[in-house]
């Protein structure tokens, strides 16, 4: 019978910590990995996207109010052609077939008399066209006295992949900004709740006794206050600002976090390895730092991934009530609220932001579930 001290040679010298174990388990969870990738992409889009889109999120295009989403740039070809024709009719020339390619529109023109080069003014005067010029068929400048040529003009074409909203702003850019704002608020509010909750809960749990009782009583009372109350009053008091919103949301989320951390601290305090550390003479601070916090992290991390979607949802609700971020800044909640009121006739205004928000929330939920399973595995 061998003693239990001999280690087979194939064991690696460095150990596999519980954290590494959890990481491996997480990697195997395909839904969680996919969610993490989606989240990273969306976050990237939110951070970098607004700089890459051709439109600023607050730029208004009065001529493109409520333009439906389209891959094709605006104005569409079937709008350009008749417009060009109408313009050229005023010039009283014969018009051939109008061609649109990219930002250039050309139409062969001819007339009984030599073409007056000043007819380009008719085209330039139109809002739609610019840089009008007469060219010969070969593309060079029109020869003197020619009776036929090609009228070429530039058309500013704008792509609105997701359409525009009721004010004529590009929805895609606004959604990207919305992602940025929503994620930022979600992360910031959750971070604040995390810091507040962990500190409060750890102190209450570690000190125990009457201090713990009092601290938790405070939490219970605050819990009885409806969330909306808090936030609305804070917003009404301080006005609508980005910073305030995430502080307000964080102030309500920390309660749950404090409860969880306190529960964890109480459980860990009773573990024998904490008693062993006391027997070694480790100071209170040392115990908290080396034993309590690392061991409490698991459920805390899982809870944070559930906090973020909650915070985003709360912010969306605020925006819906008209108490969220201020125009022209937008968040996904605000976009959805606008979309909801424009539902009839401009369904894309509701669909795209709703899908984006749903995707983010789904991804966060799956990631949170995956983390929970990875950190505390049981038979699924």
């Amino acid at each position: 019978m061998t003693t239990d001290t001999a280690i087979p040679a194939e064991f690696p010298p460095a150990g596999r910590s519980l954290g590494q174990d959890a990481w491996l388990r997480l990697r195997r969870n395909r839904a969680a990995v996919a969610s993490a990738i989606v989240l990273l992409l969306l976050a990237f889009a939110g951070i970098v996207g607004p700089y890459l889109t051709p439109h600023a999120y607050d730029r208004i295009y009065p001529q493109y109010v409520r333009a439906p989403a389209s891959l094709e740039a605006y104005p569409k070809e079937d709008a350009i052609v008749p417009a060009f024709q109408r313009v050229l009719e005023r010039a009283r020339v014969e018009i051939g077939e109008v061609e649109v390619s990219g930002t250039t529109v050309r139409a062969p023109v001819s007339s009984g008399e030599p073409l007056d080069p000043r007819i380009v003014r008719y085209v330039d005067r139109s809002d739609l066209f610019s840089n009008a010029r007469l060219e010969g068929e070969d593309g060079n400048a029109l020869a003197e006295g020619a009776t036929s040529g090609v009228m070429v003009a530039n058309v500013q074409r704008l792509r609105f992949l997701f359409g525009t909203d009721a004010n004529g702003r590009d929805l895609l850019s606004r959604i990207l900004i919305g992602i940025r704002i929503s994620l930022a608020i979600g992360v910031l509010a959750s971070t604040m709740a995390l810091l507040l909750g962990v500190t409060y809960g750890a102190i209450a749990g570690y000190l125990g006794g009457r201090i713990d009782n009092v601290m938790m009583r405070v939490v219970d009372i605050l819990y009885s206050l409806p969330f909306i109350f808090f936030v609305i009053l804070l917003v009404v008091f301080f006005g609508r600002s980005f910073v305030l919103i995430f502080i307000a949301i964080g102030c309500t989320e920390w309660l749950d976090m404090a409860r969880i951390v306190r529960g964890q601290t109480l459980t860990i305090k009773r573990q024998e390895y904490v008693q062993a550390a006391e027997a070694l003479g480790v100071s209170d601070a040392g115990i908290v730092r080396r034993h309590i916090i690392p061991n409490a992290l698991g459920p805390v991390v899982v809870f944070v991934t559930l906090l973020v979607p909650k915070a985003i949802l709360l912010e969306s609700l605020l925006s819906f009530l008209g108490l969220g971020v201020q125009e022209p800044l937008t968040s996904l909640g605000l976009l959805i609220a606008e979309g909801a009121s424009n539902m009839r006739g401009a369904a894309w205004l509701l669909i795209y932001p709703a899908v984006t928000l749903t995707a983010i929330l789904f991804a966060l939920n799956f990631l949170g579930d995956g983390l929970r399973d990875a950190l505390d595995p049981k038979d699924r």
């Binding site: 206050l225 609305i232 949802l313």
Partner: protein, 305 residues
């Protein structure tokens, strides 16, 4: 048990007191007043109004007056809807909210527990995945997305149900569905998790080892423990549902008390806001107590003396 209930109720009074105080001073400290939103009134009329509503007195005195009224059950006059007192507004609005929320809660409980238990019994089957998937869906999609979508689809496009308003049972279907859906999702998930754990427990193993039929093993031994976390969840949830949902009442135009809070805060209708706070806090305290008692009834290990 009786002594415990009395103690809880007695302990509720200081809690309520603190909440009322915090609320009172917070709302009063906000800039603006109830009369700012209207066109400029004749200064004499303003003075009279202020005197009538005690605004000319110092704040702490107004606070005491309010407390005094509150102790007698008088929530004061509404500042923005000046023909009504807050008590009037609640008398008409509260039953509506309770009806709406109560039905939604009942439906959510029955459907949620059923689906959750079903998913747990058929774990990792397609039934399980569907329930979990739908539950995730229901939790993630915000109410203010579901509500207008349902209203649009069933109300306007299909015309099967009224898109808003309140009166007949038809008017109740969409708002109750909107309120119930996220709750069904949460309750189903809670039940599923708890049932899975219960099915793995030692006493369920004992029940199986003694050849008890499946419906007894699950129905008697597993489920009773599994609904305990659901019961705990119900406390604050019941309070929230029964005091009206801002979103649902706004979108469906339902005359409940849910809207009062936001409108009151925005319009600086102090008494209305305070009244709502008091009512909500009372409901929360009441339901937490009910839930604790229910829990003790279900679990004999938890007994208060």
């Amino acid at each position: 048990m009786f002594g415990y209930v009395l103690r809880r109720l007695a302990g509720a009074v200081p809690t309520l007191f603190i909440i009322v105080t915090i609320a009172f001073f917070m709302i009063r400290l906000a800039p603006g007043g109830p009369f700012d939103l209207e066109r400029a009134l004749d200064p004499l009329i303003m003075q009279n109004l202020e005197r009538a509503f005690n605004f000319d007195k110092p704040l702490w005195q107004q606070y005491l007056i309010y407390l005094g009224n509150l102790a007698q059950g008088d929530l004061g006059p509404s500042f923005t809807r000046r023909d009504f007192t807050v008590n009037d507004l609640f008398r008409t609005g509260l039953p509506v909210s309770i009806q709406l929320g109560g039905l939604a809660l009942a439906i959510a409980l029955v459907v949620g527990v059923f689906l959750g238990a079903l998913a747990a019994l058929r774990q990792n089957s397609w039934v399980d995945y569907m329930v979990v998937g739908t539950a995730t869906f229901g939790i993630t999609i915000p109410t203010f997305v579901i509500a207008p979508t349902l209203s649009l689809f069933f109300g306007v496009m299909m015309g099967w149900l009224p898109a808003g308003g309140w009166g007949t049972w038809r008017h109740m279907v969409l708002p109750i569905a909107t309120l119930a859906l996220p709750q069904i999702a949460i309750i189903a998930r809670l039940t599923r998790g708890a049932t899975i754990e219960a099915l793995r427990s030692n006493h369920v193993r004992t029940a199986r080892a003694y050849g008890l039929p499946s419906y007894v093993v699950v129905g008697v031994h597993a489920l009773r423990g599994a609904i305990l976390p659901v019961v705990s969840y119900l406390g604050p949830t019941a309070a929230a549902l029964l005091t009206g949902s801002v979103v649902v009442e706004t979108i469906f135009g339902i005359p409940g008390i849910g809207r009062y809070f936001v409108q009151g805060a925005l319009g600086r209708d102090y008494t209305l806001v305070m009244g709502t706070v008091v009512v909500i806090a009372c409901f929360v305290i009441l339901f937490n107590l009910i839930v604790d008692i229910l829990y003790a009834w279900l679990d004999p290990r938890v007994r208060y003396d």
